[in-house]
Symmetry: C2
Subunit: 261 residues, 2 copies
Amino acid sequence: MNSVLPSEAPTASLAAQPAATPSFRPLYQQIRDLILRSLQQGEWKPAEVIPSEMELAARFGVSQGTVRKAIDELAAGHLLVRRQGRGTFVATHAEQQVQYRFLRLMPDVDQADAEQPAQREIVECKRARATADVARALALKTGESIIQARRVLSFGGIPTIVEDLWLPGEPFRGLTAHRLSAYPGSLYAFFESEFGVRMVRADEKIRAVLPDVQQAALLQIPVSTPLLSVERIAFTYGNRPMELRKGLYRTDSRHYHNRLS
Amino acid sequence: MNSVLPSEAPTASLAAQPAATPSFRPLYQQIRDLILRSLQQGEWKPAEVIPSEMELAARFGVSQGTVRKAIDELAAGHLLVRRQGRGTFVATHAEQQVQYRFLRLMPDVDQADAEQPAQREIVECKRARATADVARALALKTGESIIQARRVLSFGGIPTIVEDLWLPGEPFRGLTAHRLSAYPGSLYAFFESEFGVRMVRADEKIRAVLPDVQQAALLQIPVSTPLLSVERIAFTYGNRPMELRKGLYRTDSRHYHNRLS
DNA sequence: CAGTGGTCTAGACCACGCT
DNA sequence: GCGTGGTCTAGACCACTGT
């Protein structure tokens, strides 16, 4: 039997599979998707506990082991975090552990003592209309309302990153330079707590480039300094693109770190 | 009970844990490490099948489920590959699927039709002595014997990558420019089939740089062209570093792709 | 001590690949 | 049809966290 009996799944119905098996879909994946939908719909908010495995098993009418495997996959994708003895929690960007989960620029020499956090300066933040490029990246239509921002990150007083951001206007309605500057945590923690938009995954395209005059000025470097260009699209639940970000990184005393396996 | 009874593990003994639990180590991790050791010692060679889950369960005196969880972890780390209905195989770099598993330089426009493979040209290949830097990266002593090579990769006739390689002399004894040039597959497939050295993981440090005169000449570009510098250390089983590679990538029509999650 | 996730087992059945 | 990995279950027990 490849589907949950409706009578045993009072709060959620799974699409029944025909007895013949033209397309087989494991139960635990169906459960995973149901949990995912609950996350998406905000049934449990970031940093909250979700129901225990036994509760979920009862709710979906499956065994604990099946729920466990569903949660395993979500935890592997950093959507959930398991804490033994306490419960399973909705993952959040606001955790102390990793300040910048998606920033891979590391100091060349690992100063053992805690590195002081980056200083952030908002250079610009305005409402605008999506160009064709931006619209394509954010799955919008050309001309739709967006928010555009530029900021500079400095480490130990040295301007190191200049970033341009493009955000869809609708979900981020009410975002202002002032609120951006005032927020103490990372941008993604800001999006999460202020707009309920949780970034789950990102794709980056990395190149070596030279800055234009303005970028060079912001980083206080000559225009002949090669920089890392990092173009990122960040996605929420359901692979919906919610941020386009183009960063320029100085790499003379830091490097972009990547592990291949 | 946290350890396998010796009587039930005839071909391998697991370290018994004291009844008090000062340090608890799950059984499946112990099994995983035993399988890992067998891989390391070459009991099963790349692309070969390993024994079935039931056989391994009998051999280690545990249930199939425990072996399964051990294999799951190794498969997640790309050390093993499961194929339903056929068995579990030792992973290899020689698979057709992904030509270059560790090369993340992608064409900007995805030509749907198969891209023709890169052309490879060995520029240099010589025996030498490890400098302090190289020795540190490869966990050797300064002055130990190494092999040094330089090659150029071209895509569609355009020289795109120039790479310098440093390899420990001992495991790669007998490597020559001729054998390098003659081998049809990727470098890592070559290391695997010709020297039994299987790379399992790699760390990369990425920067933006300008080429020196010689590098610019090899890539047929001006010295003012910013390039991606990719410094990679590749590891075999047991986190032993076995290759240092410094690559320069042209990124005007290709980009380094990375997925963050 | 109760409740949570984590481990381990044994057994049944399913999907897949080969012969 | 057989053997492989893949799914699902039910139950026991362990390790960890809070009260």
